[in-house]
């Protein structure tokens, strides 16, 4: 092709990209060979139009063309065959277009002799549609994974394998568990959106678990072994001597299982708790204790 692409698309030299796209679309809708299966001329014209659009639809190529660096030839897009070229041996071809020709059936079967009830009639094959579900999980079940099930509106039960460490908002795809396919098509998938309910004491950040653990005054001052909860059950942990409120200890590998193997950690924040009821003995003891320490020094009060 050597025609001026502006002429082919019927736009002025100064047309905006938007106008060029509009012009291309207007022409291509009329000329696309697959939308004109019987029109031989359409193919030739469509080739020119799409070649012109290849050149002008791309601002960079258009600028180079305008500067005369490239010409309109050689801009043709190599193209395989059009869809219409397959119409005689095309498995997608639908005969649904004359299903209402009930009276013509006899005539057609006379014409085609034994070939009445042609192959392809009604062989619509479609994949079943996907089905969406929500599954609300306990915090601990989400961390540890395991089997869960969803009871469907029709009473049947869908088993769901929860991978350990699943997150809130994650979507599980259960292949083939959606609507059945039509005419032998494959069934759709079930998409299960996971909701993780918050936990009373644990919070999760990434693959790590955070928990606040109260300790007594004597445990804080003297140290000792205490039991702390983890998602996989309680473990014993050593509190070092002189541990303050806000001290964070790490339990390695006691966090959330990772998809690629391994675990996150659990972080234990200590918090000193005085006995709930006043203890006269403790009061007497502390009254004798004269420390020079002022924890509010940094506040300049």
């Amino acid at each position: 092709m050597a025609a001026d692409p502006y002429t082919v698309l019927g736009v002025k030299k100064g047309a905006s990209q938007d106008d060029i796209q509009k012009a291309y679309r207007r022409l291509a809708k009329k000329l696309h060979p697959d939308l004109n299966p019987g029109n031989k001329k359409a193919e030739e014209q469509f080739k020119d139009v799409s070649a012109a659009y290849d050149l002008l639809g791309d601002t960079e190529k258009r600028a180079r063309f305008d500067r005369g660096e490239i010409d309109a030839s050689g801009a043709e897009r190599p193209r395989h065959r059009y869809y219409r070229d397959f119409s005689e041996a095309n498995p997608y071809t639908s005969d649904a277009g004359f299903e209402d020709f009930a009276d013509a059936e006899d005539i057609l079967s006379q014409i085609f002799g034994g070939r009445a009830g042609r192959a392809g009639r009604g062989n619509l094959r479609m994949r079943g549609s996907d089905v969406h579900y929500r599954l609300s999980l306990d915090f601990i079940d989400a961390v540890n994974g395991g089997k869960q099930h969803i009871t469907l509106p029709d009473g049947s039960v869908l088993d769901v394998d929860i991978p350990p460490g699943i997150r809130d908002g994650q979507i599980l795809r259960l292949r083939g568990k959606g609507q059945p396919g039509i005419g032998g098509g494959s069934p759709g998938d079930a998409l299960v959106e996971i909701e993780v309910r918050p936990h009373r004491i644990f919070t999760r950040k990434g693959d790590d678990i955070h928990v606040e653990v109260p300790i007594s005054l004597s445990e804080a001052v003297l140290g000792g072994k205490i039991k702390v909860p983890t998602p996989s059950g309680p473990v014993t942990m050593t509190v070092p001597k002189w541990s303050n409120t806000g001290t964070v200890l790490r339990l390695k590998g006691k966090g959330v299982p990772r998809a690629g193997g391994g675990h996150g950690d659990e972080f234990v924040a200590l918090k000193i708790m005085l006995p709930e009821k006043p203890d006269p003995e403790l009061e007497k003891f502390v009254a004798q204790w004269r420390g020079a320490y002022s924890p509010r020094q940094a506040m300049e009060v």
């Binding site: 299966p37 869809y83 397959f86 639908s94």
Partner: protein, 93 residues
Amino acid sequence: MHTHEFVLQARIDVETLDHWLRAGWLMPRENAGDGGFSQVDVARAQLIGDLQDLGINDEGIPVILDLVDQVHGLRNMLREVLTTINTEQRARP
């Protein structure tokens, strides 16, 4: 043909292919054993790409594909009818 060869010929990426398969716009032969794609699917994929270039959205594409397929079916039938009539006329004295 296999999937990787198909996406090359059709000039689409695997994600797009996945989307089109899910939407049912492409239906490779399932029992072909090698991915099941043929030249018909390549041409159909290019048609889908052209339709998207024309500004047709995801809702419109299956409508057009279905109508195009029906037109093909009707044209085939018409061609057979005309061929048959032609043959019969010639067979008559």
